[in-house]
Amino acid sequence: MATTIALAGNPNTGKTTLFNALTGTNQFVGNWPGVTVEKKYGKLRGDKDAQIVDLPGIYSLSPYTLEELIARTYLLEEEPDVIINIVDGTNLERNLYLTTQLLELGIPVVLAVNLCDIVHKNGDTIALKALEDKLGCTVIEISALKNRGIEELAKQALLAHDTKEERVASQTEHSCFTTKELAGALDVLEQQLPAPLQNKRGRFLAVKVFERDEQLVELLSTELKRSLNTLRATISDASDTSRPSGSSSTGLAAQDSSSEAAASEAATLKLAAEATIKALEKAADDDSESIIINERYAFISRIIDSVLIQKNAGKARISDRIDKVVTNRVLALPLFAAVMFLVYFLAVTTVGTLVTDWANDGVFGDGWFLAGNAEGYGEAARAFEEASLAQEAFEGAAVEAGLDPASSGFLVQAEAESIVGSYEAYDDEAGTNELIIVDAAAYEEALAVGEPDPAAFGVWVPGIPVLFKNLLVSLDAADWVQGLVLDGIIAGIGAVLGFVPQMLVLFLLLALLEQCGYMARIAFILDRVFRRFGLSGKSFIPILIGTGCGVPGIMSSRTIEKQNDRRMTVMTTTFIPCSAKLPVIALFAGAIFGGAWWVGPSAYFLGIAVILCSGILLKKTRFFAGKAAPFLMELPAYHLPTPSLVLRSMWERAWSFIKRAGTVVLIAAMIVWFISGFGFAANGFGMVEDSDASLLAYLGSALSWIFIPLGFGSWEATAASVTGLIAKENLVSTFAVLYGGSESWYLTMQLSFGLAAAYALLAFNLLCAPCFAAIGAIRREMNNAKWTAAAVAYQCAVAWIVGLWVFQFAGLLTGELAVNPFTFVAAASFIAFLYLLLRPAPARQTKAAAAQTRTAANAKAADAA
């Protein structure tokens, strides 16, 4: 028979790590029906009949938070066969509170004491046998992170299922309510329960009646339904007959009657119990709920005294000492800025670039040297590239002057007519584009430069495009098919996949921050900043998740209770650069800014700044006004990251990115190649030689006027921005296809954009509407078409304005453009922005306050009359 094992525990006890260890890769994610928190379930490794259900992290079974309600409802309605209660061994006292509640549910509990390695490292000891005796359930020592004790835990959980009755009886015997008066009162309440409910869960229900639980009717309804079902199953088994046609209607009728019966039972119970509860409340001089809580903690305190021996009781832990610096009021923000700067700097500029250059130029370029003089070849290749540009420029000028470069005596003729060509080249040292003049002498010199043979410089491995080109030529594939494969698919996908090494570095660093516990500190640190502007730190959690992917980031905003805060978070989450935007940042950093160190980090901080400013501005509008929700959080202890978990996290994210390149980007690159190579020419629709006459050029030109004030009003940039809506990586693949694929498309990009225009294009694409998948997630979370449209419009408007400021102000500074009408638009919008940012929040009355004012005014008027 299949066994269902529920995994319950406080947040941050290593529940997900244990879930992953128990299930291996056999895990799935689903939605809890009707609610908003994910359900995680998986098959137990080594026993396909056993299913593990991961419940949300909770502190108690009280119905105060959504997570607690979900966990409680699941445990009562679904009734798993066994509960594995994972507790943090370094925080035993707090964790055992939930344990005392779980033990009352009439389900066998196996207590997994996690983080035992840290307990031992601290020099502390937990007497497991004594703990077992006190609680009446099996206790296992584990380290989920280091995969210790997991097999024994799974074995004990399955054993607990086989010996269910004895386990439950033992748990009931070890009740935590030992005070004579309270135990007596609970006994009375238990006896007052309707006969079918005085079962193994009688004590739990009696406690709920005593606590005056708000969900009592639902609880009783659940229990009555269960009793009814058990009874029906018993009768059915006994008579061994089945009546399928009538059973469903009987079931429905039973359901209705059980709900009605529950309501009436609850009313009767409340009435009968009130005298008992009030008597005890009077005696204890406390409310009933506090009496229960005190009793539980007194029980836990006694347990802790007898099972836990702490070596350094009262001394500050290492984590606390680190936090004194990391979360320090003065140092926290600079440290956070330094850490995030380092993450993006390492990923985009240094370590990532080294490998990405190899991937872009080698694997997805001409090829690379396994051994040999790579530098010498690089210089020779660059010289040949420059010579080719010079030849092209000179011959272009000659053709314009009516000369034929193929004719004999061309050089003499060109010299006689003083033909001079020119082209722009990027000066690495100056960081600007330089105009190179090519006269006849320079042209002659360029002609003498031959294409270097890489094999002459060492052991040369050809790149993927070269291999495919050779294959296509040997297959005698048609030219347009070669173009589709080489300039469309391989150029597009290659351009995106070339950034995988940078992504790996970013994912590795983010996984390290997540695993060591620093990510939680970032939320803590930014909560201070957010709160100062009336925002909640809760809004930052989706943003943290959004650094990986915007979709789960948007989805995680569900846990924000206030609707206006949730909507605002959904609208702003995608401003943070997700992993798909990293190739875009890296492309601009590498191709246009010459690998400048500041491009990657500035993109991240631009996202944070826009989120903060958006929050401040939106909070001052009536749609989002209101006090920020309180944000209380628990900081997990710092620990060394586990290499296997870090690598797994890194690989899974990277694999997801690679898969997207093989699906969405593949199709998009093919479409872009097709519509950029075909169009309406003089002889009808067909392949066009000049891509300016292509379909994509028409489509891009129709929208490019929008971006003229932002400095990138070309149809290519417009088309790339539009394809970025399908998936942000498409921006890279589209540029690669449009700017010549493997053949020095970086150079073409460099020549197409000035620095201010390039950063404006980058800023616009980082901030504008996210990909379709994320827009779909916004639609689902907003559950309203108008709000979805408003969110997308807001993001596009913000992106456009930021792009405008960047181009107009930075362009003036760099001398890229002169003062123009749009400079005044930029200045006016910037002043308006500052006014909106700095003005005090308009005083808004709540409805209740307004009603009160009205009543007071009416009363005053009546008095006056």
């Binding site: 947040p11 994910e38 992290g57 938070t65 996290s649 994210r653």
Partner: protein, 74 residues
């Protein structure tokens, strides 16, 4: 049209077909499980679970906290 051209086109059609099939399959799975189509086609569950688990952890104990100052440690 050469045989080579036809062979390449067949391979490309298979690639596109597989890609579309995978997207459709992910959509079907999304409908069945109630998760977003993007998540269904992604499959990077464990890293996301880690992140979402953190989100829930950090947001779990957020009610009835009026007596606690924001950002204070539990």
């Amino acid at each position: 049209m050469s045989l080579g051209t036809i062979a390449v086109l067949v391979v490309l059609a298979a690639l596109v077909g597989t890609s579309i099939y995978k997207q459709l399959k992910a959509r079907a799975r999304a409908k069945l499980t109630g998760i977003s189509p993007h998540c269904a086609s992604c499959g990077g569950c464990s890293s996301c679970l880690q992140a979402s688990s953190r989100a829930h952890s950090l947001n779990a104990y957020t009610q009835d906290t009026s007596t606690q100052s924001s950002g204070s440690r539990l």
